[in-house]
Symmetry: C2
Amino acid sequence: MSLSLVRSQAPVTRRDAVVDALRDAIVTGALEPGAFLRETALAAQLGLSATPVREAMGVLQAEGLVEIEAHRHKRVTPIDLAATRDLLEVQAHLWRLGYVRGMPHVTPAQLRALRGEVERYARVISGGEESQPAGRLEAIRASHAFHTAVIAAAANSELLRVTLDRLALVARFILLRGGSTINPAGLRLHQAILAAITIGDQEQALAHFDSLAARMIALADPAASAPHITGD
Amino acid sequence: MSLSLVRSQAPVTRRDAVVDALRDAIVTGALEPGAFLRETALAAQLGLSATPVREAMGVLQAEGLVEIEAHRHKRVTPIDLAATRDLLEVQAHLWRLGYVRGMPHVTPAQLRALRGEVERYARVISGGEESQPAGRLEAIRASHAFHTAVIAAAANSELLRVTLDRLALVARFILLRGGSTINPAGLRLHQAILAAITIGDQEQALAHFDSLAARMIALADPAASAPHITGD
DNA sequence: TAGTTATATATTCTATAGAATGTATGGCGA
DNA sequence: TCGCCATACATTCTATAGAATATATAACTA
């Protein structure tokens, strides 16, 4: 189980290795949202000096996973519901653009890749692992790889970059706070999108994608996520 | 003349100061596209050590202004026409989303700010500075501040961030390669958008914005930018 | 006692030196 | 003459120590 979707192929510098390690820890929640990050302490834990750790922080800051206050401290970005809603809305919008541009150019090989990702998602559900962190992460990775593969077909370098940019941040929220998206209904939507793309019905594929996006965005809806708001 | 639109308010660290200095140099072309950047040489020029220079490179890489090849070299990102077309398309799409979301919430104060930016653009044209680098940069800044102000009204933190993210890269291309957008016709489109927003006609404002965006994207059209392609 | 200033402490930020890596030059062999 | 290997060089990358900055604690004054 890894987060290779946004991981560097083979980290050639210690900095990249630290980035990968910390990203994994943050996305899985091993480093909890809001946790303070001290350079020297982390360096000691990882068995290297503070320099590459410090540089890794800059990368993670660009990905939205770490917040830095100059001369004060660094911390894992807390999960803010309003900010997450904004994030998911923009991400969904960019994904949708990627679908519109990418679907017409999906090759048979890419279609097989899409099928593979859906099967990966399906294995999690059929195995009943949808309530375990490992299974949930696997399903999220499959879903993200699915969307990314469609977008890649658009052959727009900037569109691919901007969608990959905050993918880890999206994954963290869904993994740690988005309980209800990874389930049979979510699987069916992926299957429906795949089926529509396979027969070339892009309109229907988009419709199913919109349903999926709406479900995702709803995760950051205060009304749904804070049901006890009227309790006191 | 500065690039304050993407500049840190008051650089509290040397790293931030270097980022601002290098960003300015890259956007204005003082550091030419493709130029190699050596840490120690730049540090010596700026009168400080290599460490903050090196960290600044990471930030500029995230902004797309610098390309880094591990253990080899760093360079100012070359201007690639295909990549720029992708960039402008995505940027235009995000701006458009910002217009749709932001326009309904523009306050009178923000409207005055928009008017101020259009006047700034107008002063460049009426002063005949549209062919000089300084004037061109001023007009680009006014235009970008205009779009950004509309988007800010949408109050979507992620949308604002993602549009500001690569603003310097967009500005550089238009400044160094986008000869024809800064002119009376460009000014008129800004004025038309402003007028439409002022009277609350968002449909028409969007139509004018689309014209503006199309003109911008056309700058990266190979056919238009390489007219001598049939000459030999 | 409340507020302010000075001091101590912790952490980041920067400078510097050395280690690691990649490229180019020159020599060797076929 | 061409290809391959070793060596020298340049540059990045990392480690370490010291400087700068912010916070907390304690002493002092009104």
